[in-house]
Amino acid sequence: MEVNVDRLPCGFLILDRDGRIMHLNQALADMLQMQAGEWQGMHIHDLLTRTSRIYYQTYFAPMVFVQKEVQELYLTLEKDGRGRVPVLANARMEGDRVHCTLLKMTVREEYERDILQAKHHAEEILEDTDEAYKQLQQVMTEYEQKRRELTALNENLHELSITDALTGLKNRRFLEEKIKQLLYSAENDEVPFSLILLDIDHFKKVNDHFGHAKGDEVLKALAQIFQRSSRGEDVAARMGGEEFMLLLPSTTGKEAALVAERICRDVEQHAWELTPITVSAGVTAYHVGDTAAGILSRVDDALYESKEAGRNRVSYSVL
């Protein structure tokens, strides 16, 4: 049986190597509303949109020459601006000729357009998501940065709130907290602790004679001496004015008294620029049943005793 290509239910073309049309079947002529034989002398370009021509030249032709066949290539036909027809092209090299079937896909085109639109939409969403994610990351980084700054600031504030600005020693607030802690561990774990309260002798005179700036210098120098005398666990604090306190954890009253004696000596022997400086000290140790107020009042009494006894000395107060 002889097959009549004109009656095939799809477009059929034969091209030469340069793309000139050697044959064009009736189905294709109908698709493009061409007269019989109108294709004579035409080039494949004459049946393609400009874009499809570019595509034909960059993809279709190289592929059919190299691979000898092309499958399912999407092209758009157009004849003198008449009826744009989307087609799927299959082609095969037969000797020096290219045989080419063109399957009309006007309906399928609609579906594909929808799919492409959905794809583009999905891509846009993906891009937006990526962008949002990037922004979120940025916000997170900023937040983390702020949080670190805030933490540092808080630490700084906390440090300031427990530090005596002039001497750099701890302040009364910190010391009172610390006494509470030591009382707790003394009651529960029977760990002893002691206090030394120090007061500069005749400090008012220093201020009056040399001015407050010089007085401050003395306070700072004393703070350094106290700091040097304190061990790792000890806390040296300025209670206010010319009054200082040393808190000595795990230390008996006797040991504390020795520390106080040494401090008094160190202060006395320090090479003071303006005028000799001495300190008086009171010492006490934890006793069972002590309260913070009780222990502070006792060490105050001890200091008072040193002042009364002529200053520059240490008194020890027991219950």
Partner: protein, 265 residues
């Protein structure tokens, strides 16, 4: 001497003796387009073919969108290959955008090129005032859309070739799938680079002899584009081919072979 770049660009050297010839494919294709020309040419010269990074059987993992966002990246491919092979004074045959890639490479390193044959070249594909490049922007946009409709079909024909490459055992099916996906992006970027290209001023600095082979009915690179290059490039000549279309090396290989042979030493 290493082979790193030859492997990256799946370079192959055929024949020996006489002139050294480089055949460089154009946009959307790979080195297989030279199969018709190779047998005769390689019996008269030492011929190298290769795939630009991202095309054909090249190592797709070497593709860097930063590097290949202009034709300079592709020109670097050429220079790296020539340096690695120790080739200089080559006869460079570039199809389509490869003509401009060669121009860029030869402006940078003229000593590597004895002569450049450009098949269907264009310095700028878009119409611009009095300049006729052949295309309007909306046509390029449409082309991009059409590529999107077709890239899978196109990539599938390449994957099996890449898979058959025994030097690259990593080309499992997974890899082929990744390859297909990458190809779409790479092709899109290559198209972007090609159609945004504007070498109209730059080519005036090219001082290597150039032969332009201009097909009469080339819709991609119209006669006007070839003639523009002829007047812009100081040492250039233009020949009008009998073969038609943008792929005369495929449709009329004998005529192209004859031209290339004419320029062998």
């Amino acid at each position: 001497m290493g082979t790193r770049y030859q492997e990256r660009n799946a370079a192959q050297v055929f024949g020996q003796g006489g002139s050294r010839v480089v055949l460089a494919h154009g946009f959307g294709t790979d080195q297989q387009v030279w199969f018709e020309i190779m047998p005769e040419l390689s019996s008269h010269a030492e011929v190298m073919t290769f795939d630009y990074t991202g095309a054909g059987a090249s190592d797709v993992s070497s593709y860097d969108p930063e590097r290949y966002h202009s034709i300079k990246g592709y020109a670097d491919d050429v220079l790296e290959l020539l340096d690695e092979l120790g080739w200089s004074e080559v006869l460079f045959v570039g199809h389509s955008v490869s003509g401009m890639i060669a121009a860029e490479a030869a402006i940078q390193r003229p000593e590597l090129f004895r002569k450049i044959i450009m098949i269907g070249p264009s310095a700028h594909y878009l119409n611009d005032g009095n300049y006729y490049g052949g295309f309007d922007q909306h046509e390029i946009d449409e082309l991009m859309q059409m590529m999107e409709r077709n890239y899978k079909q196109w990539a599938q024909t390449l994957a099996p070739i890449a898979m058959a490459n025994p030097e690259r055992p990593e080309l499992s099916e997974d890899f082929a799938e990744r390859l297909t996906r990458n190809d779409a992006l790479i092709t899109r970027q290559f198209a972007d680079v090609t159609f945004k290209l504007d070498m109209r001023e730059r080519v005036k600095q090219l001082h290597v002899p150039v032969v332009i082979l201009q097909a009469m009915e080339d819709i991609i690179a119209p006669v006007e584009a070839g003639e523009y290059l002829h007047q812009a490039i100081p040492d250039s000549s233009i020949f009008y081919l009998k073969g038609k279309g943008h792929n005369p090396h495929l449709s009329s290989p004998a005529e192209i072979t004859k031209h290339i042979r004419h320029h062998l030493v």
